[in-house]
Amino acid sequence: MASSTILPTEANVAVAVPMPDILPPVKQRRGFFGFLRRNPTITIGASLVLLMVAIALFAPFLFTRDPTALAPALRTREPSAQFWFGSDMLGRDVYSRVLYGTRVSLTVGFSVAICASLIGLTIGLISGFIRAADAVIMRIMDGMMSIPSILLAIALMALTRGSVGNVILAITIADFPRVARLVRGVVLSLREQPYVDAAVAAGTRTPVIILRHILPNTLAPLTVQATYICASAMIAEAILSFIGAGTPPIIPSWGNIMAEGRALWQVKPYIVFFPAIFLSITVLAVNLLGDGLRDALDPRMAKRV
């Protein structure tokens, strides 16, 4: 190229005018704290969930008294230094009951999330891999999903004695078809992927394909779905208890406290109010966590923001 007589040097060439920056530089945040900064919903949701877990674990040490201890002389006291959240119509301390109620809600929420995910995952995998079973299983799932899940749980609870275990069972039965459907969808779309085809063509056995290719890819949507199920299960438990078809009244759960406060709510709203606040915050925390995870785990959704 350089056939001109004068060799170009820094001194004699025309220099391009540098272009200005029209946008401020983007701050890059890395590491664990960078992740938290970039995902405020996960941060807020996770810290609130952890707080609730701590409250549930350490309820006996948080200045509570026996949540079932009756004190008929001290009925329906307004919130005060003695009863931080007031007392209910049997003189029980609402503060203690609400704190212990965290245990029931979290137990139900987490148990249902785990059970529904495991059952749904198994059924979804079977349905996605075994053509013969698919039609039958999915028709049954469709049928189950046609029954509004709270109604299904109510119907189940009406036939059993109220216990936390039965509540978990009822809500799990109402919720797992959704997981099964999700997993089946993921499996079917993955089966179309060239690398799965290649693995099948190469003679890889089905269990190996499931373990190596399918399971890792279902994990992200499954986790997100599990958080949503956890949130809706906590609401479902409260609804069941509230209408008298859930946790036995002897156990302080948020739904039970509200059910007991219901008769008096026009004059003593705080009995309903405090468990309502706790329930809402806990469900909100889990939902925020779910939204944050979805945005962080689903690159297609994340790209939009």
Binding site: M1, A2, S3, S4, T5, I6, P8, T9, E10, V13, A14, V15, A16, V17, P18, M19, P20, D21, I22, L23, P25, V26, Q28, R38
Partner: protein, 331 residues
């Protein structure tokens, strides 16, 4: 000399992304005269489509940002209000896109989509707009226009859809037509038909055309002047014949080298299809010297250090390369 139809000066279009600012277009200047056809060529990702979109301010802001000036008939498009801009879009300046399959709205019928432009800019009634739409369909060579006008895009073939796009673009007799890869997605035979149609209509309507393409065959066929873009910058500009005969910038030479010559295998002059080694550099970090230095076989330390300015290497022929031959010196 009167001012050209369109004058673009120091156009910059940057985007905010999570991992840095993408300088998709970084300081492009060019002009288009009335009735002229110019081509903007370059590899995918060189910023040619973003340039086209910026000219109609179709870049979403944020995350994008446009700076510089785009003067159309003496008025700067970048300082116009949204309302003024809307009055220009589809009326004075219109655009055809690369993907005819996805560029038409699937839930509105063809007549409605053509008529919409007419109703917006010429205030036609729904009935008049449909009548005019039938006329436009006839003009772009769609058989049975009276029936087609009521059909939906999925009922049409790719070539027909691109004809509909052209009908939409030309409905209001624009002064400037921006065509972003109008034939890339089509079969070769259809490509030729669409190019013929564009050329024919250009004469009838008298619009200037800015043709964005990576297809040098198309450039040779229709353009009068060519702008070569690389990594968001203009690296060379010349009248079409001159560019093909005597490319100055190593990047342009590489581009021309990578076009197979028809019949070269018969004449025995078959050469290996040249390719440009390497990849387009990331536009998210600032490049100190020449943008092409990382892939240029002639690059020296000077190139990597000092960015070359665009210089007139021959009459009407500019290139941004320290080592490109200057006519005055070489001749």
């Amino acid at each position: 000399m009167p001012e050209p139809l369109l004058v673009v000066e120091n156009l910059q279009t940057h985007f905010r992304t999570p991992d840095g600012v993408n300088r998709a277009v970084d300081g492009i200047s060019f002009h288009v005269d009335a009735g002229e056809t110019i081509a903007v060529v370059g590899e995918s990702g060189c910023g040619k489509s973003v340039t086209a979109m910026s000219m109609l301010r179709l870049i979403p802001e944020p995350p994008g940002k446009i700076a510089g000036s785009i003067r159309f008939q003496g008025r700067d498009l970048l300082t116009m209000t949204d309302r003024e801009m809307r009055a220009i879009r589809g009326n004075d300046i219109s655009m055809i896109f690369q993907e005819p399959m996805t560029s038409l709205n699937p839930v509105l019928n063809v007549g409605r989509q053509i008529g919409e432009t007419l109703r917006l800019h010429q205030g036609l009634s729904a009935r008049d707009a449909e009548a005019k739409a039938v006329e436009m369909l006839t003009l772009v060579g769609i058989p049975a226009p009276g029936r087609r006008v009521r059909e939906y895009p999925h009922q049409l073939s790719g070539g027909m859809r691109q004809r509909v796009m052209i009908a939409i673009a030309l409905a209001c007799n624009p002064k400037l037509l921006i065509a972003d890869e109008p034939t890339t997605a089509l079969d070769v035979t259809i490509q030729a038909q669409i190019l013929d149609l564009m050329r024919d209509l250009k004469h009838r309507v008298g619009a200037a055309i800015v043709l964005i393409t990576h297809d040098l065959g198309v450039v040779a066929e229709v353009a009068e002047r060519v702008i070569v873009m690389y990594a968001g910058k203009k690296v060379e500009e010349a009248p079409v014949g001159q560019l093909f005969r005597n490319p100055r910038h190593p990047y342009t030479q590489g581009l021309l080298g990578s076009v197979p010559k028809l019949g070269s295998s018969l004449t025995g002059t078959e050469t290996r299809l040249a390719e440009i080694p390497g990849l387009v550099p990331s536009l998210k970090s600032k490049i100190p010297g020449c943008v092409f230095a990382s892939r240029c076989t002639y690059a020296t330390d000077l190139c990597r250090k000092v960015a070359p300015a665009l210089e007139e290497k021959a009459p009407h022929h500019v290139a941004a390369c320290h080592y490109a031959i200057r006519e005055a010196v070489a001749a």
